[in-house]
């Protein structure tokens, strides 16, 4: 008995050590979970086509794995050796991926570089490049675009109401509901006010790491103070905007506590589930008008601002030192091609990064909710900027993780009545600007 027990125990101990044996080594590709099946099918076709048109067989199997693309860069950096050969990241992760000696390889294939240049808007072409040891390279291949838009409840709001925040707010007061729910107070989801631009001349004084420089951050312009004063009224006034609650925005939308929510394409399914196809409306982010109470310096009453958004691209990048490097750029070219982007939109509702998608992709002008989502996002591209954090790994950290978003949230909510004066708001904006530049709240 003892003997059997002893041997069984040892076997059990040894078993996990044996389970890793015999694994094959395919080309591993990480894409968003929603697109896994689509890209696996397409890449199987790619391999079949390669085998049919070449003398030799494609030497690897291709395995497409669905992952959370928001955390793919962090997962990759946790263990670069175990990371995928090709993976999807938002472009603002580029800085941390190319920090030091870079964890990803630059694109060198001239035909792929030509395709990137021909198919993508200039804004995307700027954010997929980065400098390593003083030399600039192109690292990413854009293939999906995204921006924030407005989801609203059509039972209470019509298309005219959602053109302005004031329109939504007025209806909210009438119905005694909250005008807006936020999905988060992080620097991304509360950026719609900071990134707002003057409609008259499409201007803003706000600067975020322009020309990839820490010094080129500016948050203390008159218009920024004025926009935040307006925001403070919106967030603290009755039936205005509400910061994320413990219930979650989905419940607030579903229970009709709030009439609208700012979200991305990744919130679409949840918004649809909350409001249903009949009541879900989709629009670009609304405008707002500065009143006497909000005016500050040169930003006078009556100035109209268009809410802004980070208008980003998801891009495919290649692991540095991959043993299958010779085959990766061909795959990238295929996955980011116009045809595949169009099919990806039709089958997975992925907004194409392709610059003429609105005109050339038939499915984008269809009378469907998905097409409306795509059109609104595309329209938001003229009111936003790509997150300018890709050039340096610290940009992202300073902007998001050193407390600046929480300070903006505090101004908007007038936490502890500490931001009731223009000077108090301005003082905090000085701190926020310092955080963006140095990562510290206190002056050196």
């Amino acid at each position: 008995m003892k003997k059997n027990f002893g041997l069984a125990s040892l076997f059990l101990v040894a078993l996990p050590m044996l389970t890793g044996c015999g694994k094959s080594n395919p080309i591993l590709i990480w894409v968003g979970t929603e697109s896994q099946e689509f890209y696996q099918t397409k890449l199987d076709e790619y391999v079949a086509n390669y085998n049919a048109t070449n003398d030799k067989k494609f030497p690897y199997a291709i395995e497409v794995k669905g992952v959370d693309t928001g955390s793919a860069a962090a997962t990759f950096l946790d263990d670069t050796e175990a990371g995928a050969d090709i993976f999807t990241v938002a472009h603002d992760n580029l800085g941390k991926l190319i920090a030091g000696s870079s964890g990803i390889s630059p694109i060198t294939d001239t035909s792929l570089l030509a395709q990137i240049a021909a198919d993508n808007p200039d804004t995307f072409q700027n954010v997929i490049k980065g400098k390593v040891s003083g030399t600039e390279y192109t690292f990413g291949v854009p293939y999906i675009a995204q921006s924030l838009i407005l989801y609203y409840n059509k039972a209470y709001l019509n298309a005219t109401d959602v053109e302005t925040w004031e329109g939504i707010w007025a209806k909210a007061v009438t119905h005694q509901k909250q005008a807006l729910s936020l999905t988060g107070t992080d620097g991304f989801n509360n950026s719609f006010l900071l990134l707002a631009r003057n409609v008259a001349d499409d201007s803003t004084s706000l600067q975020l790491y322009e020309d990839a420089s820490f010094d080129n951050c500016f948050a203390t312009g008159d218009d920024t103070v004025s926009k935040l004063k307006w925001g403070q009224r919106f967030f603290t006034g009755a039936y205005g905007a509400r910061v994320p609650s413990s219930s979650g925005w989905e419940v607030e939308l579903k229970d009709e506590l709030s009439l609208s929510v700012i979200g991305g394409a990744w919130h679409y399914n949840a918004a649809l589930s909350s409001l249903g196809a009949d009541n879900l409306g989709i629009a670009i982010l609304p405008r707002f008008t500065i009143t006497e109470a909000d005016a500050y310096g040169t930003s006078v009453a009556g100035t109209v601002y268009q809410s802004g958004s980070f208008t980003d691209t998801k891009m495919l990048v290649m692991k540095k030192g991959s043993t299958k490097a010779d085959y990766l750029q061909g795959i990238l070219k295929f996955m980011s091609s116009k045809e595949i982007q169009e099919q990806s939109f039709e089958e997975c509702a992925n907004l194409p990064a392709y610059k003429n998608a609105l005109e050339e992709f038939e499915a984008m002008s269809a009378d469907t909710m998905e097409a409306q989502l795509a059109r609104c996002q595309t329209e938001m591209f003229s009111h936003g900027i790509p997150q300018p954090f890709g050039a340096n790994s610290k940009f992202n950290v300073y902007y998001y993780s050193k407390g600046a978003p929480e300070l903006i949230a505090a101004i908007l909510q007038n936490t502890g009545n500490a931001y009731s004066t223009d000077q108090a708001i301005l003082d905090e904006l000085v701190v926020i600007e310092r955080v963006w530049k140095t990562g510290n709240k206190e002056a050196a």
């Binding site: 125990s9 670069t80 030091g100 910061v243 993780s401 502890g416 510290n440």
Partner: protein, 494 residues
């Protein structure tokens, strides 16, 4: 006069306490010194034994110092001898040739890398040194050397034992006899070896690795494999108290709340559990088993399910708020579990303590019920004969007995609450947030540690906090346990 006596007794209390604390630290110091003295003695003894083996052993034992397993091979203990030889060959191969895993070498090179943490920065097309793997492989190599030393000494002992067996006219043991002995007299060795190896590999090694990270600048600015990081001594520890970062600003408040939480979470569950057990076990209470079962159901449900259910019940648009609104008690939902509004921090703290009672009390209740049913009846009889009334019996017999038996539980419960990740993470995620900082009002050291490492990749500071958490829990446990009656008077209730 008696009043004066009382006053004297009162004033003597703090003195006694300080004496007891002094004695404790004296004892701790002695224990600390004694630990190293014992190690020294043990090493000296081992050295004597080694000398004896070398001088008294046969030529084969002497040669086993160079070629492991030779002493066994020469006596036809082929399997054992080959095993030792293979260990030596394998060890020398790894040390000399330093094979690479993920581009980072093991063996002798790993020891050098352990100190340098890499020198090759790499470029855009070539991979540079990975400081994190170098640190890890360095620790593993040191562990491997220790294990090799263990095998080396075992090889000498085995050869010398064979010498002695032969000298005594015995036959050297065969592999079959050794295996039989492992399944019989030395069964504990067979069973404990995998467990000890498991502890070394899965507990000791990661712990040592984690502690070492606290002395490096491995953070978000130095991602492993992309940028080299380096040893920085005690800089991270200094930053906790001197820096201008979030860490130094929020460490003390988070630590203070962690201790407050641990204290109240422990005491409330403990007292609540005892009261509930006393109530259920009271004479005259009907359906005792049913009541007990109902409360045990809370334990049967996975804790995270209970916590998430509570979170939904108490959310700003949840059923409880809806009921309060419908009753006209409030106009809009209360953020019981926090959002960005810092003014409600204390409310949120109280609410999570109450929820913690819901999931914690049944454990104490169950344990105390068992204790209550097993208090020796002669204690009650003796007290009754001595004329004690019910109240006196309760305070002088029942309560001391329960406290005595449950003190170790109380201590582990306190330590468990210091590292109570689930409750905080699932209920509030640390909210409400402190303006401008990641660490919120309800964050404990462990939840903050999670944010720092998983969300922020600040591994070095995370390690420092983990070390502080360990020191806190270890010291708290030791102090409380060694000063408890359960430790000092362990024979009292036997």
């Amino acid at each position: 006069m008696p009043q004066e006596k009382n006053l004297n007794a009162e004033s003597a209390k703090p003195q006694r306490r300080s004496k007891s604390a002094g004695a404790f630290f004296q004892k701790l110091g002695k224990g600390f010194v004694g630990f190293f003295v014992n190690i020294g003695k043990s090493l000296a003894k081992s050295w004597d034994n080694a000398c004896e083996r070398f001088t008294q052993g046969s030529i084969w034992t002497k040669l086993s110092h160079l070629i492991m397993g030779l002493g066994n091979l020469a006596r036809k203990q082929i399997v054992k001898g080959c095993l030792y030889l293979l260990i030596e060959i394998g060890f020398l191969y790894i040390m000399i040739f330093s094979p690479k895993i993920n581009g980072t070498p093991f063996g002798a090179k790993a020891i050098v890398n352990f100190f340098t943490l890499g020198t090759v920065e790499g470029d855009i097309f070539t991979v540079g040194d990975n400081s994190m793997l170098m640190l890890l492989f360095g620790v593993v190599t040191f562990g491997m050397i220790l294990m090799f030393l263990f095998a080396y000494i075992s090889n000498l002992k085995s050869s010398y034992k064979t010498d002695l067996d032969i000298a005594r006219g015995k036959k050297p043991t065969t592999i079959r006899e050794d295996w039989k002995s492992l399944l019989d007299q030395r069964f504990h060795v067979l069973m404990l070896t995998p467990a000890i190896i498991g502890i070394l590999v899965f507990t000791v090694l990661p712990t040592v690795f984690m502690i070492l990270i606290a002395f490096t600048n491995f953070d978000s600015a130095h991602p492993a494999g992309l940028e080299l990081f380096d040893w920085v001594g005690f800089q991270n520890f200094r930053d906790i108290f001197n820096g201008t970062s979030e860490i130094s600003a929020r460490f003390v408040p988070v630590l203070a709340w962690t201790l407050v939480w641990a204290f109240f979470a422990t005491i409330t569950c403990y007292a609540g559990g005892i009261l509930l057990a006393l109530l259920i076990n009271k004479k005259g209470i009907k359906f005792k088993k049913v009541w007990r079962t109902i409360f045990i159901l809370t334990i049967a449900l996975p804790q995270f399910v209970s916590l998430l259910a509570m979170r939904n019940l108490l959310s700003s648009a949840g059923p409880i708020n809806q009921i309060l609104i419908n009753l006209g008690i409030i106009d809009q939902g209360i953020e019981f579990l926090g959002n960005a509004n810092a003014s409600q921090a204390n409310l949120v703290r109280v609410v999570i303590l109450l929820i913690n009672m819901w999931i914690g009390i049944p454990y104490t209740m169950l344990m105390t019920s068992g204790i209550l049913m097993n208090i020796p009846t002669d204690l009650f009889e003796a007290a009754t004969i001595d004329g004690a009334n019910k109240k006196q019996i309760f305070w002088n017999v029942t309560v001391p007995y329960i406290v005595f038996v449950t003190t170790p539980y109380l201590i582990t419960s306190f330590v468990g609450n210091i590292t109570s990740f689930n409750v905080i993470y699932l209920l509030t995620g640390g909210a409400p947030t402190f303006p401008g900082y990641k660490a919120g009002y309800t964050d404990l050291l462990v939840t903050w540690l999670y944010k720092l490492t998983i969300d922020e990749a600040e591994y070095n500071i995370g390690s420092v906090i983990a070390i502080f958490t360990f020191i806190l829990t270890a010291t708290g446990t030791l102090l409380a346990y060694r000063n408890s009656k359960a430790y000092k008077e362990e024979d009292t209730f036997q």
